[in-house]
Point group: C2
Chain length 146, copies 2
């Protein structure tokens, strides 16, 4: 059965999932945040089949989330890096990681820790905030047609 | 081809996507945050096939993200609401929505606005922060084995 295309739905969450909702896609983006650039590195870090990786990388380039780094002489793709649009996925990747650490932990505990480069301390837990900085729970917000 | 199960991977993002990575699943969670409770409401708001919705709701209950609200006399399921684990998906839903609003906008603009109930103002853009509250970009963090 063909899945309804989420881009037909006028919700931004649906439109975001359309581009990054597939599991592999967000794991490729995670790798890119961790500094992975080359095809072979993505492949060995993720244990993903080459044909699937090729398709997902092409989709990410097409959606403007990754850009291919081409060698000037023969145009061969050297690797992939995040665009500005891709880098804006940072809070999503962190939010997913923190939720997973808390609610779906690996038996041996969180495999990695994200630390603030300047202070060397773990980053804060991501929280939804009001314009004035108050922390908001779901019950503290209202959804309005805009 | 069967997709590698993400729960075999020791990354918290993969373990999170295993439970909520499927597009429909996060859209059902979004609906639950917006106050949807009953099967028929989920169905009409999302335009999802009943058999798919049934399967996704069962998965969400099994994963402890939704809980079924049963009528006391005959045990019939009245609706579904978020558990604490489900409510902790709030930053993820907001992060996805804000990214979608910015980078994959609907032609007619963002369909809804999330406002702080107390002040009636739009909530802040979600940002990754250090323990002391400094805003962090991806380049400001380091990933360490923990």
């Amino acid at each position: 059965m063909r899945r309804t295309s989420f881009s037909d739905m006028s919700c931004s969450i649906a439109r975001c999932l359309e581009q990054v909702g597939d599991g592999w896609t967000l794991l490729i983006v995670r790798e890119a945040f961790f500094g992975t650039r080359r095809f072979g590195e993505f492949q060995s870090h993720l244990g993903i089949a080459p044909n699937v990786l090729t398709a997902r990388l092409q989709g990410l380039v097409q959606d403007g989330i990754l850009q291919a780094m081409a060698e000037s002489e023969n145009g061969r793709v050297l690797g992939y890096r995040l665009t500005d649009k891709g880098r804006d996925l940072f809070p999503i990747v962190i939010a997913l990681m923190q939720w997973g650490d808390r609610h779906a932990p690996a038996p041996e505990g969180p495999p990695v820790q994200v630390v603030d480069r300047q202070e060397g301390r773990p980053i804060a837990t991501l929280q939804v905030q009001a314009a004035d900085g108050r922390v908001l729970q779901a019950r503290d917000v209202q959804v309005r047609p805009s």
